[in-house]
Symmetry: C2
């Protein structure tokens, strides 16, 4: 994945940043650097949701489960996500939330490695990843959640490790793990890998098959532009599909849900990871969001993103010494977002929002900005950088209204 | 709940069947007796979904989590469901699917009853309820899922019972458990109750507080008209809220999700049962669906439903000896749907659908019909009954096209 570093962010771009801007309904006076928290609405998502509601649900009602392909939607959308993460179509399914999917896969991995009781991760991983393992520990008190700094992870893998659970692109710093190297080390220790791709899918090239990754989960509402709280996805490598079973064995994961048997028999395929009935309105938006990536090469998109983020970083750090980049400075060592540390990050983010530049505050002192070339142009990113520099230079983030904390997202 | 049996279905009705028909977008040539599988689209749900997509997501983007009350939606909608099930506003939250919520609460109940290992239920309960306990057993092999016929349940409660898990209104027959009697018996044995209200909420009066029920879950897409795969809800009696914790301890159940702490601390209130980010498009439809019940007395609605179902049953069984009612014959002993056994139930249901009468087939040999007075009139129900009788009398269900099985829902 790092092989094209020589071209770097300054090589010629195949995907022109902002090329798909017209597909999205972004307010014209807004520079939206927060697609890594909630991707924007596309025209096709808006239309898909309206169609699902009025024509499918409204007119076909219950028969839509067959007529309009609702029953197959989780597998169908999973198959569309698969090429974005280097997986086969039958290795991915859309269901539940990222959190719930982590629980399912981590529990199944533990059961597949009897005698091993450690889940290895890093401190500062996205909290829900750690929280779900804490929850699993309530039911499996022998489980040990072991957190070691990222540069000590490979050395910490041992014969007690059942699972390595990492977020591929760090939610705050954007730092990216080398999936191939860590997966190989994990396998050497006899353990399985579970990659959280929430900040990777639709952002950077991911090669689950090539790196021989075992398990993965990811989010639908960030770079996939699937809508607020869009259902998540999960990946199980084909070689594990018969051996692993979900502890959340709901009826839609049954081999034959409408036989209404008292006893559970998991579906033969990736469909076994489904639990309850899928939320179709949300799935319709997700399918449309994923559809925007059709024909887009992820390496090309990442190249464009690197160009955007690097231009932003250089323009900010070149003019302003007060903020500290806490993301890797090499663009190919990070995902599609960067973060800066600043003592009053909350206030600065509010001041930016007031001027139409939307980024994220991440407690306690980080400003985070996402660079998604589908709809962001180089000119917008430069304008946003200049505005940030100006807000810092003038100190207008000190205006009292920017200090009022709302329930922060 | 059985106290008004004397008035029966023939007393004067306060809620006139079909009174809210204009609020729904049902096709004019359809008699929809399948609201117990998927409730219809209301105008307000259609508008709420469009508003959530275009105005909230499309224009306010990430700031909608605060500006448009997204973050509070699970608690807010839970509070609106609460009066329909005899609960306090702070005892109900909307999250995940019914299946996943069963897992959370059953696991928490087991942990709250150390030394007890039996989950008691009945054979033929809705399958996912049993399947989720099977899944839990993967993680807790000491767990015993004990199934006894419904009339032996009270006697089977003993000092090893941790949890009684029952569906209040049976998904197939519509038979209703006496929640008060069984809850009292369960408490006497030192165990907890978990009621699945999927076929009760919005259908019959439910008195969780009065019967001292401990835990409950329910579905958003049936009588609540919340849309296909609408998120589910769960109820935890106030007296248990500090003592029980979800094993699916995701970040949105954290006391302070945006502190991004490594360690999990459950929220003080019902919000602790949330796991991942809620699917807002689906929640918008659910909130609008629940809104239709504002000002409606559940006893009045059930009275009207009994009138409808009884008229249907009498009209069918009075003219046709071939079908056998497998629901209780006393209308106040059942919920808002009835089922008939017939050797070729699948074909008859298909023949009815072809004539605009939409009911459900339930394997292997049941025809199921739901009676929701919000939008169904007495005249429609009579027409549907006559059509069923005619299809049986003429034998036109034998036409070959009705024998072609589609993936059945």
């Amino acid at each position: 994945m790092l092989s094209r570093a020589a071209d770097g962010p300054d090589g010629p771009l195949t995907f022109i940043p902002g090329a798909y801007r017209e597909r999205f309904l972004l307010p014209s006076d807004m520079v939206y650097l927060d697609g890594n928290s909630l991707g924007p609405l596309s025209h096709s998502a808006r239309d898909a949701v309206a169609d699902l509601a009025s024509r499918q649900w409204g007119e076909s009602l219950i028969s839509s489960w067959n007529e309009h392909g609702w029953m197959e939607a989780p597998r169908r959308i999973g198959a569309k996500i698969a090429p974005l993460i280097g997986a086969q179509a039958d290795e991915v399914v859309v269901c539940d939330s990222t959190s719930v999917n982590i629980f399912k896969l981590a529990a199944a991995a533990l059961l597949a490695r009897p005698g091993r009781t450690t889940v290895l991760s890093e401190p500062g991983n996205f909290p829900t990843d750690l929280y779900m393992i804490e929850g699993l520990k309530r039911l499996r008190p022998d489980l040990d959640l072991k957190l070691v700094p990222r540069d000590e992870i490979a050395a910490a893998l041992d014969e007690d490790t059942a699972l390595l659970l990492l977020t591929h692109v760090h939610y705050k710093t954007g730092e990216m793990f080398d999936m191939g190297v860590l997966t190989a080390a994990t396998h050497k220790a006899g353990a399985l890998t579970l990659w959280d791709l929430s900040h990777s899918v639709g952002a950077v090239p991911v090669s689950l098959n090539r790196t021989q990754a075992d398990l993965a989960v990811g989010c639908g509402y960030k770079y996939l532009n699937g809508g607020p709280g869009a259902p998540a996805f999960l990946y199980v490598a084909n070689r594990h599909q018969q051996g692993l079973t979900s502890p959340l064995s709901g009826w839609l994961g049954h081999e034959s849900p409408f036989a209404f048997d008292d006893a559970y028999r998991p579906a033969e395929d990736i469909g076994r990871w489904r639990a309850g009935t899928p939320p179709m309105l949300s799935l319709a938006a997700l399918e449309a969001g994923v559809g925007q990536f059709e024909g887009v090469d992820m390496q090309d998109l990442w190249d464009a993103s690197q160009k955007l983020s690097q231009r932003f970083v250089e323009r900010v750090t070149g003019q302003c010494a007060e903020v500290e980049l806490i993301s890797p400075s090499a663009p190919d060592a990070r995902g599609c977002h960067v973060s800066f540390r600043f003592h009053s990050a909350y206030e600065v983010v509010q001041a930016l929002i007031a001027e139409g530049i939307v980024g994220d505050f991440r407690a306690p002192d980080a400003m985070r900005f996402g660079f998604t070339p589908l709809y962001l142009s180089l000119e917008e990113v430069e304008r946003a950088a200049d505005r940030l520099v100006d807000i810092l230079a003038t100190g207008r983030w000190r205006q009292p209204e920017f200090a009022v904390r709302k329930g922060v997202t």
